[in-house]
Amino acid sequence: MITLTINDRRLQVQEGTTVLQAAKGAGIQIPTLCYHEALAPYGACRMCLVEVVAGGRLGLSASCAYPAQEGLVVRTDSSRVLKARRMVAELLLARCPNVPEIQTLAQEMGIERPRFHIEDEKCTLCGLCVRTCEEIAGVSAINFIQRGTEREVTTPFAVPSEACITCGACAMVCPTGAIVIEGAEEIKHRELRLGPAKAIHVPFLQAVPKAPLIDAGQCIHFRTGKCGVCERFCLSNAIDYEMEDEEVEIEVGAIILATGFEPFDCSRVAQYGYGRLPNVISGLEFERMCNAGGPTGGKVVLEDGRSPESVAIFHCVGSRDENYNEYCSRVCCMYSLKFAHLVREKTGSKVYELYIDMRAFGKGYEEFYKRLLMEDVIFIRGKGAEVTDVAETPEEQGKLIVKCEDTLLGIVRRIPVDMVILSAGLEPRQDAAEVARLFGINRSKDGFFLERHPKLAPVETASDGVFVAGACQGPKDIPDSVAQGAAAAAGALALIDLGKVEIEPITALIDEAICSGCKICIGLCPYTAIEFVCRDTTGIAQVKEALCKGCGICVAACPAGAATQRGYTTQQIYGEMEGALLAEARG
């Protein structure tokens, strides 16, 4: 440890600490401009000047680059220091009179008008961007050129640099906003089309585990091998760049499939203009917009930042529509009603609900619908036909025009609105077919997983020990999903708790006396349930009953007729056919 004195205060700091860090640690303020915690000290701006009174190189020094020494005595508020800083600020203000950050700095020092020749620069030549590009991004795409009054930051020969990875770090670190990245919207990946997201982010607020992740495609460290700022500054050392996806094999006795759904892609309904027209958003995007932790901080806003004056909510987007999905997605009516309530609450704007039928079927749902009828939400019975921005009348100018048929009034309407929310339906996940195949279960016509019986076995599937829960089995709301999940968990626990497995009673049997040991059945059995055992002179096939699932493939294939199937013997099936044909012949 080193002991030094700053403004008559004795401080103990670690070796390698700079005077600036020591002062900051003790709560002594020193103004800085070119200093950044993540970068090496540079000492370019001279804002952080302090006076070394004793124990070191006497005189004014940049505190950011001055290492703390034993017995050093420093003053940060001497008249010499303040005078020098004021001069620096005055010179900066003369160079950048229109930069708010410099104006504030100068104001704090009591400078009204600089005495020097006034220019109009944005860049203070602090070099943060240059050092960030070199030290953090590791690409050195920008640097200083020229000297003295000609000095400026640019790319080589002032042409777009091929070395630049458009990470945006220089623009982010610039204190005066002198660097603008063209097409910044395109390089940042956006959160649900609503706002930018960073390379490190929590996928969504309810994520389990709720941990931030690094987007390797965006992260500078993964692109250039440099940066590593997050690792340096993470207090709990939680950053691990080496971490990779890994496959883990777990042996289990029961499986619950709760793979969920995929929201309908609204851009498939081209006439609604999703992705083409501004302010046409999906239900999920509106939901995110309403979230206080979301990209708009919970405000319902249009793309230009205004609050909407009228909003239309389209029901049944991708549901109850023979062009897309015939089924009802069950949840959209209620979430659309919730949206209407939220829009009214947050903006007080006019809300139009365009519905085919109002399906408020759950506990307390009808009451909520009635409440909204009282909240001045305008309900139009008729599916939205089209959203367009082609105005026909002056009041339609600059608005989105919703075309629909009001079936209760029997007229076709054009309604100008500011925002359109598309209540997208629920669809099976893209990989539902592969998952179903993997677990040996069926899918219903709509593509969702099929339960064993719609009424008597709603969480079981055709495969023993595989259960389904939630929207992977069919569109359902949260209460229903929770109920089904609990039922599936109970079903799985019942299996585990039993400690035994019930096996198929309809197994194959091989008559030892008839079997000639040809081994045809052994190759056909999908469960390797048939083994070849040696008898005196020859060998025969024998069924391991615990493994046999009773498909009867071996029975059909046995050329000697040695194999039979319990409950489905050849004689029984013959009898069944004879009976059927005889009865038919008599009838």
Binding site: R443, L524, G552, Y568, I573, M577, A580
Partner: protein, 149 residues
């Protein structure tokens, strides 16, 4: 079986327990209409259908036989329906040699959710066999036996 117009074909249908029988069940619970000419015989898997079952059905007087299983790749027993798929062309070859029209024996993949397809297949099959007329293999066998003695 008086005239050809009132001919009601008799069809035996081998339905696998997991997909096609479930599909047939669903057709029932969904109140789908299909002709009553097909009598279902439930088997655990379409792979259980021994080609002799088909011959036996024909010998017993069936006018047509329908074999239904899970869609390829969807078999509850992983690969049972592939066995049915491989046996079917061989069986057709044998039937051809007997002089039996190939339309009388049909292999179809029907999943547990395809009640509509099930009803359609049974309807089509019935119409096809009705058009082909009675097979009456049992009577012909009987006459053949009498002629020889």
């Amino acid at each position: 079986m008086s005239g050809k117009n009132s001919f009601e074909p008799r069809i035996i249908g081998f339905l696998c327990r997991w997909c096609s029988y479930q599909g047939a069940d669903l057709a029932g619970t969904s109140r789908r209409h299909y002709p009553p000419n097909m009598v279902p015989v439930r088997v655990m898997c379409s792979g259980r259908v021994d080609p002799t079952f088909v011959l036996k059905a024909i010998a017993d007087g069936a006018d047509g036989v329908l074999i239904c299983g899970c869609h390829p790749g969807d078999c509850h027993y992983q690969s049972g329906n592939f066995n049915a798929m491989r046996r079917y062309p061989l069986l057709m070859k044998a039937l051809e040699q007997f002089g039996i029209e190939k339309e009388r024996v049909r292999l179809e993949w029907i999943s547990a959710s395809e009640s509509e397809k099930f009803a359609l297949v049974v309807k089509e099959m019935t119409e096809t066999v009705r058009r082909l007329g009675p097979l009456e293999w049992n009577r012909r066998l009987f006459q053949e036996g009498q002629r020889k003695t």
